[in-house]
């Protein structure tokens, strides 16, 4: 190719937060490929120092509006581990429901509102309201259900109210859980219909593969989300306490900011990583949906993360029904608050949130004040993999028109569902 291609996509759209794609090529030679993050740093780890253990979850929830339940849970798990607090079986059930609700909300928002426009060749979901009214209404219905489930379990969809150290401030009644269960059951058909609409346009997802490492929680008894050990498709299982040696933050020579890597140059976390690690533990209809899109482990196509999200939506619905059945059998009650004895300690909480494995790590002093905090965010762990994917993908696109290269690269970033506001603790920055 004898032309010069300069791509500078400033603040790419339909992603959470601010990121830029810069590509310069000259006569087929690649001069620069960069995935830049320009979001303002927010310094959460710095300003939670000195804060009371009771306030940490409600402060760190504000790292992310889309995965605020996940941050709350990682925060509570870290705080409880530091203080030696044991939670009840009911609390574990309800937290798993809260996490499912968020997974459902986040995944359907991403697939239905942010990715679907690419599959239908439009700029946003707004034109689809007119052209594909029925499909959009179905997606809204699924999104509404996920949010109303969060309202019931957490008191609110964004920045959960009722999740506190040791338990819940309020619990759903059996009558409310029965209504939720029947709505979840009927949503399975709607989810299947949405999948069938999308499968007709799934060929719009680029057929691109690059071998990489996938990291996520894993456990023997279920599709790991709330709990587990760290699993890698390259190296097997590792205890959560060793997370530092998994994420290995480092500064790249051409940039001022940190990336993470484990056994290779980069790794991927998120729905596709979880699918690749744990797919055999998915619920039955979720497996069917994976089959519909011919998604099999190990898939090295990052674009299939969108499909893994849809598969996980269905898994979360089916697993929620099982949890609700267990709660209906045993009953729910407002439990007495757990007595907390303040002591000095450090605790690590790891949770699978919609975009991948999340770690919160706190050290708390004898008065219950946080003295050190570290949060390792899924998108932060994915930035390196996005960069490596771009480097592998651009050479395959050079004979295409500039607009098509741009669209492919935007779709690539979007496939990771990056949550850039979350990730700006560890910016990766490079200047033009």
């Amino acid at each position: 190719m004898s032309q010069k291609v300069d791509i500078n996509l400033h603040h790419i759209t339909r992603v959470e937060g601010h990121g830029n794609i810069v590509v310069n090529t000259n006569n087929g030679k690649i001069e620069k490929i960069e995935w830049q993050v320009s979001e303002a740093p927010r310094f959460f780890e710095a300003f939670v120092r000195g804060k009371d253990y009771n306030d940490l979850a409600h402060i760190t929830s504000r790292i992310c509006g889309i995965c605020s339940i996940g941050h709350t849970l990682a925060s509570l798990k870290a705080t409880e581990a530091a203080l030696g607090v044991e939670i009840s079986e009911q609390t574990t059930f309800l937290r798993k429901l809260a996490l499912h609700a968020e997974n459902m909300q986040s995944h359907i928002l991403h697939v239905g509102y942010l990715v679907a426009p690419d599959l239908f060749k439009v700029g946003s979901v707004f034109p689809l309201i007119k052209t594909h009214t029925d499909a959009v209404l179905k997606i809204i219905q699924l999104h509404r259900l996920a949010n109303e489930m969060s309202d019931l379990i957490c008191g609110r969809t964004t920045h959960p109210i009722g999740l506190v150290v040791g338990g819940f401030t309020q619990v759903p009644t059996l009558a409310e859980l029965k209504v939720l269960k029947s709505r979840l059951i009927s949503s399975l058909d709607i989810a299947r219909q949405v999948a069938e609409i999308l499968v007709d346009n799934a060929h719009m997802l680029p057929n691109f593969s690059r071998e990489t490492e996938y990291i996520g929680l894993t456990t023997d008894n279920e599709y790991a989300l709330y709990d587990g050990v760290i699993g890698s498709t390259d190296t097997g299982k590792h205890p959560v306490k060793d997370y530092h040696s998994i994420v290995n933050e480092y500064v790249v020579p051409y940039s001022t900011a940190k990336h993470t890597k484990h056994k290779r140059e980069s790794y991927m976390v998120g729905a596709l990583a979880r699918f690749n690690l744990n797919s055999e533990k998915l619920s039955p209809i979720a497996k069917e949906i994976a089959g519909l899109f011919d998604l099999k482990p190990i898939s090295f196509n990052p674009f299939m993360n969108n499909i893994a999200q849809l598969v996980e939506y269905v898994h979360s619905v089916e697993d929620s029904i099982i949890i609700i059945d267990a709660l209906l059998m045993r009953g729910t009650k407002i439990e007495d608050p757990i007595e907390i004895k303040l002591k000095k300690g450090r605790g690590i909480g790891a949770v699978e949130v919609p975009r991948g494995i999340l770690f919160h790590d706190y050290t708390i002093d004898k008065n219950g004040k946080c003295i050190k905090a570290n949060c390792v965010i899924p998108t932060n762990q994915n930035h390196g993999n996005i960069q490596k994917d771009m480097e592998a993908m651009v050479p395959t696109l050079l004979d295409k028109p500039k607009e098509e290269i741009e669209l492919n690269l935007e779709m690539l970033v979007r496939a990771y569902d990056p949550c850039i506001s979350c990730s700006t603790h560890y910016l990766k920055v490079k200047f033009i």
């Binding site: 759209t13 959470e16 780890e45 889309i66 609110r156 964004t158 979350c422």
Partner: protein, 248 residues
Amino acid sequence: MKPKVAFFDFSSCEGCQLQIANLEERIIDLVEVVDVVSFREVMKEHSDDYEIAIVEGSIQRPMDELRLKDIRSKAKILVALGACAHTGCVNKLRNEWPVEDVKKEVYGKASISDNPYFDAFQAKALDEVVKVDAYIPGCPINREEFIRIVTALVAGKKPSIPNYPVCVECKKNENICVFDLGKFCLGPVTIAGCNSACPNFGHECEGCRGYLEHAHMDAQKDVLKKYGLSVKQMLDRFNIFNYRKEGY
């Protein structure tokens, strides 16, 4: 002509813009009455021709300040969306610390000194940088209030937010007073409009909607005295969402 509306975001969790997606079917009604010309989170198209700018987030860097001033110059009406824009929210907690200290704590030895992306000053609410015409408080915003305020703006009316405390809504909802549950509630001094969301769920009000000017402080002091709490303890709690170096 439908009014042209643009959404923008600065330092925030973007959870308040998410509440617009969380309007569910009512998004369809919204786009019937306004023409959304820019909304980076959900659409590719962008136009600089807008009457109403709805802005989420706090201002943390010179480059953000310039961008906000540019938005202000293009918009007839500028709306602060959510607590980050309204009060600075938790972003301002770092103002307790010198900027160099928080940079060192988070980025360690990485060299970021000549990098404008990292050129943070103390976090600011929008109205510390530009004139703000209307506020939609809360962390996150209340969706009903968002609809009410946008409806007022579209109808050319001046929107208003409640001038009474969260306690008024809480009493109407017949909640047990959360002080009686042994918790420290900021409802008496916080702007209402959330329908007392947190006390409804057995949790104390954390003051995310901001300090109610002309709050009945004498009555609040009596409440604090009754439960053996101090004004300082109240302000420490209030600071989480409403940090002010100079105090109240």
